[in-house]
Symmetry: C4
């Protein structure tokens, strides 16, 4: 993984995060237009599309970059790796986060263009309530636990299906519909549609996500204590060596 | 499995059952709020989220504890193992059941908090009719048959997907929406929402579930007679050795 | 396979077909009760439950009996095997068909009991139109093509997922909602609910299904000509030898 | 693959494309009839049936023809192969495209017959807006990226599930509901129902699809540069050699 061309890894993180946000925002717009009478049905359409799309994106870009698409995942990888001399370097972490955030914004703009809307909008959808912030903590803790729990038990090849399924559940069981991703959260500011989030709600969401990531990493440390050098995290590394 | 730290196994059963109930109750609350006009649509949203979440939880905690999350499964494991000197010990069974029940209650409370509701409530949803109790017998018999049928044919690696899919069907084809789990049943008393169950209905449900578990184990004994020592039951053991 | 106790094979075919019909009929009743306002939503709930349940039943009983649950599949297995001295014997075929038909009726009765309805009813749902009969021909041809196409290419381990997915599509793309199974058709006569079929429609449906099976087997013979002895058909045989 | 009987390969492409269009159009008719009150629900029923059906068709016909069912995929295979002396020959490409287009039309006619409608109709559903054409570019780029990205990383065995899931997402996140296939687009002209497309919209859709295919192939070249001879593309080749 570390021998890969850095440009290709950053391109993969940019494209993957852009397409992820494009899927979330685009399917949200479609759902809102086509099922105006029932918000739950809109969310079911939105979450079903996201499950399918996220799973495919992890499969597609995993072998290049690890398919993080998420600064919380990259930070956890960096942090877990620091303790054992593995994982993302600090420089790679910075590159990943920039690529992810730019991707998140680009994906939102692409979705708006496809649906014949103004390319750049600012969402007015306020979401920061106490319950929603608890929801983001839970959602991100679970996401990190799934990714690193599978990696520690040598089952990263299952990550594409497992992460997609987890998000499919978390859309519904968390009160916040599970953003669980700072880059996606920033990207979703730029579409004033079903999946948007008002800028005022973003800082609290991101803080809750980082708290959740720390909790998730801690829980995995209790359930699956690391016993050797941490493998460089790749959600799909296993798939290549089956 | 038996060499694992007992505390980590009990933590896994506690967390797994808590998150399972949190998924069932939380997605039920979301469905009820977002799709007020159609109870079937609410149940579809609730069951879809549960399928995704349960599959991931079995994947995540299977290597530690076997991912029972269910006293009926643990009792069947203990019972099947006693005959052949394998399975959970009586002490481990007691620990599992306590961890599962505490987890079930904690999950209900967490869901209520995320959705800005009173943390502890008592459900008023009465469910004990003759048809529903027959439903619980059928639901639990099928669940036990799936888990132990796969284990006896050395395909426990498929349990995460198969158990999740089974519950996805049983939500709909049983009249009771398939609780099929005494710990989850107890936990769901503590949320007066879509997925709740009134305390007065709980004893009959649990009795029906234990009858169903016995029937399921008997049927599997007829279809797949045990021919050697029963392997310690782990829904995911196979996944680790592929 | 042929060394297995015949009683266990017939028990597996009886239980599997009974549970399949119980899933189809039971989830149909639930859908009709819970989503009274939209027949399409009822069918989506019904088909989703069937996809999950059918996949699990094939996994569960495949190693014992091949998980046919369907006289059209058993007849095709017998017919394809005759040409090469393999497959079900004529006696086994007779036993399979009887077990499947009895199971189909039992499953319908069980569903009615679970939902607090009269145990034995006769459906008044007339379905035999020209379009529906063409639909049954197409549905059964596709089903037989999927099962035997995977078997001929040594991928029977994928049958549980593939057959379930096929039926999930065929519920919708055929006009008849894809019965595609004489035993299930006979069983569904005995519940006057969403998934029922009036006795007067049954003979034409079964004839259409057998025509479809012959077409499916012929198409597979063109696309994947048999080049050696036909392996005894088991939808899951491959799973045991992975 | 190249040693296979050419007739069988063309038969597989014809049957696969016909059944794909039959699934798309047929489930669209069923959805429109059964869920008249909500277009989004119709699309959810339509897309769910397509996901299941497409995955099965790729599994079924992959070993014979590569399961392209899509002139854009065949052209990309031919183009990528030319550079390295592999892939479809020019003659095989011509045969594939003819078989696919004939299949697309046949599938539309079959769906109309099953639903007791006039066998040949011309759609009046105009779809060519700027947003929709951008949608087709994005949809086809993504489809080509998924297929060739998996092939370049030796994971073509995952194509059946990944391509089906991708289309399940693309139905929703693109504004055009993701035709992404010239043969399917031509076929869908011949049914004046939910999934139809007016002839006047077809040329622009096909041009957008070919532009998208070129973009997808270019992106995959950046992320996964080819380092050796391109393997002959088969979405399922890997499945046969696992």
């Amino acid at each position: 993984m570390l021998r890969l061309n850095p440009g290709r890894r950053l391109l993969a993180e940019f494209l993957g995060t852009a397409l992820l946000v494009c899927i979330v925002v685009g399917s949200g717009i479609a759902a809102q237009q086509l099922s105006p009478g029932d918000i739950g049905l809109q969310l079911l359409e939105n979450s079903t599309a996201t499950v399918f799309g996220l799973g495919v994106l992890i499969l597609l870009f995993g072998p290049v970059s690890g398919a993080h698409f998420n600064p919380a995942v990259s930070m956890a990888d960096w942090l877990a790796g620091r303790r054992r001399g593995a994982g993302l370097t600090t420089g790679a972490l910075a590159g990943y986060v920039v690529a992810q955030v730019l991707g998140g914004v680009a994906g939102s703009v692409l979705a708006d263009i496809m649906f014949d809307r103004a390319a750049i909008q600012i969402s007015t959808h306020h979401r920061a309530t106490t319950g929603h912030l608890v929801g983001e903590v839970v959602a991100t803790a679970g996401l990190i636990a799934v990714i690193f729990g599978l990696a520690r038990t040598a089952r990263a090849a299952l990550s594409a299906a497992a992460v997609a399924a987890y998000i499919g559940a978390a859309y519904w069981f968390t009160s916040s519909t599970s953003f669980a991703n700072p880059a996606v959260t920033l990207g979703r500011m730029f579409s004033d549609t079903f999946a948007g989030i008002a800028p005022a709600s973003v800082p609290a969401f991101i803080i809750a996500q980082l708290i959740g990531a720390a909790i998730g990493l801690t829980l995995i440390g209790l359930v699956y204590p690391a016993t050797g050098p941490e493998p460089h995290h790749s959600q799909l590394k296993g798939a290549l060596h089956e």
